[in-house]
């Protein structure tokens, strides 16, 4: 989750020293940190009362905590959490999203000091960054979720150097161990039932700390997507990278928000949107592994050649097993919705519906999923889809809210559906959100079928 700003030059004013993480992700994480504090306070109150001799049960405590958590939940529009409910593949995937948010709130690391950055380089290369590069800016240019990005220059090339905070992988492990029991008890979930989801999130989070893996994946996806037009990947430098250091080209371009502020013409926005769409469809259907963090900070946009997209950060990549791919594609296929028997069969295969379900519950699930799939799959049913129509994203959000209100769904304490859907959903929602912001009109390829 690293972010780069626009191309630096000696003429540019130096960015202010990094005091905190500037993305909206932070606001969400902070929101959760706050909840964490309140939950912590509830525990303190609980034990204070007990110490004072009052007769309180642990259930009071959990109820108080759950209230805080649900409070946080309803305030979090557009976050990863929202994603899970929005696509409504499974409302009970939420705890996994919780765990992730919690963990992220926990391991938002403070900026690394200059000497610590030097230490990371000495550990890896036996040299300081000032010896390794021709030029190295000790002031970080951007925060990444588990480290920071420095600007460097070597042999005339501008480089982005990502440096990771020491011991992050360790703390993620212990944070999850810490958070898991709390999250489970507060939400009243069964550990065994949630395990695959937790496992999935933990694996992705830990992978994100492995820069060697990120380098391999970044190179691979770039190589296999080289034929796609208007797409740009940074070159990675293995000889300047290590377990906690990742060196790549400093790509030119602007983040979505700044880019949109330059008021790009519709044709450019369409081309950018098309490029993103084609890139993601190629990853999903041909590569079977996706850049699962389509966060605006991970793309650099510019108007050159009618619109060019630079793709950063392959820290979070989801590999899609063949059966999951087949299932996911079939669920979004235009003719599935019309055919109730087929939809039922697919949902059973996905583990969302079970033969043992009571008929009313089964109907409820079916109706809910039908609604959400028809919304999410809408772009696939039209040859050209206009993500600029504001009604579309609004109806997606409204759907999420509706689902939250359904008492029958809220009572379900048992997660369902494939754990692989967590990151696939996140990918789709991230992509849709980007395209909506771009107000791009995209040829989805649906007409050819």
């Amino acid at each position: 989750m690293s972010e780069q700003t626009d191309n630096p030059g000696p003429s540019q004013p130096e960015p202010a020293p990094l005091a905190s993480l500037p993305t909206s992700k932070v606001a969400r994480a902070a929101r959760f940190a706050k909840t964490g504090l309140k939950v912590g306070a509830n525990y303190v109150k609980h034990y204070a009362k007990r110490a004072a001799g009052a007769d309180v049960t642990p259930e009071d405590l959990h109820a108080a905590n759950a209230a805080e958590l649900y409070g946080a939940l309803s305030e979090m529009k557009g976050s990863v959490l929202k994603v899970a409910q929005m696509l409504a593949m499974e409302k009970n995937i939420l705890p996994a999203a919780y765990a992730e948010q919690f963990a992220q709130a926990q391991y938002q690391t403070p900026p690394l000091s200059g000497p610590l950055v030097s230490k990371a380089f000495r550990d890896a290369f036996g040299k300081s960054p000032y010896e390794l590069f021709d030029e190295f800016d000790p002031q970080a240019r951007q925060a990444a979720s588990i480290g920071q990005v420095h600007f460097a220059r070597k042999d005339g090339r501008a480089l982005a150097v990502k440096v990771q905070y020491p011991g992050v992988a360790d703390s993620i492990r212990s944070d999850i161990r810490l958070v898991k029991p709390i999250a489970l008890r507060v939400l009243g979930l069964d550990e065994a039932a949630v395990r695959p989801y937790m496992q999935e999130v933990e694996t992705r989070l830990l992978e994100e700390t492995d820069y060697a893996l990120e380098l391999r994946r970044g190179e691979q996806i770039a190589r296999e997507s080289a034929h796609l037009p208007h797409l740009e990947f940074p070159r990675y430098y293995p000889e300047l990278s290590a377990a906690r250091i990742l060196t790549m080209d400093w790509l030119p371009g602007q983040h979505l928000k700044e880019f949109l502020a330059t008021d790009p013409p519709q044709a450019v926005r369409n081309q950018l949107g098309q490029t993103l769409w084609d890139f993601y469809m190629h990853q999903l259907h041909a590569l079977r592994q996706v850049h699962a963090d389509p966060h605006p900070g991970n793309f650099l946009l510019r108007a050159e050649h009618g619109g060019t997209v630079g793709v950063l950060d392959f820290g979070c990549v989801k590999e899609v097993p063949a059966d999951v791919h087949q299932l996911f594609t079939a669920l979004l296929a235009p003719d599935t919705l019309a055919d109730e028997a087929r939809l039922l069969a697919l949902l059973e295969q996905a583990g969302v519906l079970r033969p043992t379900d009571a008929p009313p519950l089964r109907q409820l699930y079916l109706r809910t999923l039908h609604d959400s799939l028809s919304l999410v799959g809408r772009p696939f049913r039209q040859p050209v889809f206009d993500f600029g129509a504001p009604a579309y994203m609004e109806s997606l959000y409204a759907l999420g809210d509706n689902l939250m209100q359904q008492p029958e769904l809220r009572q379900q304490r048992e997660p369902r559906g494939s754990e692989h859907f967590i990151y696939l959903n996140r990918t789709y929602v991230g992509l849709y959100a980007l395209l909506t912001e771009l107000r791009a009109s995209v040829r989805t390829g649906a007409a050819e079928a």
């Binding site: 000091s113 200059g114 000497p115 230490k119 300081s128 000032y130 011991g167 360790d170």
Partner: protein
């Protein structure tokens, strides 16, 4: 130099046998040296231990200050630079460091292992200089009387770091790095201008007002 030769032979012996030689005579014999010659340089083995530790500290300060950006560093970063360099040196000498600390603590369980006596003196001078520099750059708030105690407080921090390093089980002792970073940041937040100064200022003001 003869002195360095004795020091090196002692270090090798400790590393190989995990304890000091049984007597000065044995070490001198190994070096083909009359025992009396040894005492021209060191009164006993404990003095060599103290000197080796003092060398670690000196070496860390020299190496850290050779960093090209050292001059641009503030006091906080200089202290961090010192710790990180020291940890690198200790990593190369970890067996000896742990062995000598343990031995020193066993003999005299005090707050500060005696083996660190010389190291400590240098360290406190170094910190006092850094703090003076920090007061000029306003990183450190001037607090007469209290600030005389700072070097001792920072010594406790150094002991904390050494203790953390000794117990650290993470690969490459990465968690010690994080501990240093956080501990030093906290200490400079404490000695910098903060709530405490504002509170003191108000208290002083109220006290003066009440005497009018």
């Amino acid at each position: 130099m003869e002195k360095d030769r004795i020091k090196q032979a002692y270090l090798d012996y400790v590393l190989r046998h995990n304890e000091p030689p049984a007597s000065v005579y044995l070490l001198a014999q190994q070096l083909n040296l009359p025992e009396a010659e040894f005492y021209r340089y060191y009164p006993n083995f404990a003095a060599i231990d103290r000197e080796i530790w003092a060398d670690f500290g000196r070496q860390a300060r020299t190496q850290a200050s050779q960093e090209p950006v050292w001059q641009e560093y503030g006091a906080r970063e200089k202290l961090l630079g010192f710790y990180f360099t020291l940890l690198e040196i200790l990593k190369q000498n970890r067996s000896y460091a742990l062995q000598s600390l343990r031995r020193s603590l066993r003999g005299m369980p005090a707050l500060t292992p005696r083996v660190l006596d010389d190291f400590r003196q240098d360290f406190e001078t170094f910190v006092a200089d850094l703090l003076r520099e920090g007061r000029l750059s306003e990183e450190v708030a001037p607090r007469p009387l209290l600030q005389e105690q700072y070097p001792r407080a920072f010594w406790q921090q150094a002991l904390f770091v050494l203790g953390f390093f000794a117990r650290d089980e993470s690969l490459n002792f990465e968690r010690t790095d994080a501990a240093v970073e956080k501990a030093v940041t906290l200490s400079f937040d404490l000695v910098g201008r903060n709530t405490f100064d504002s509170a003191l200022d108000l208290a002083r003001f109220l006290f003066q007002s009440s005497r009018r």
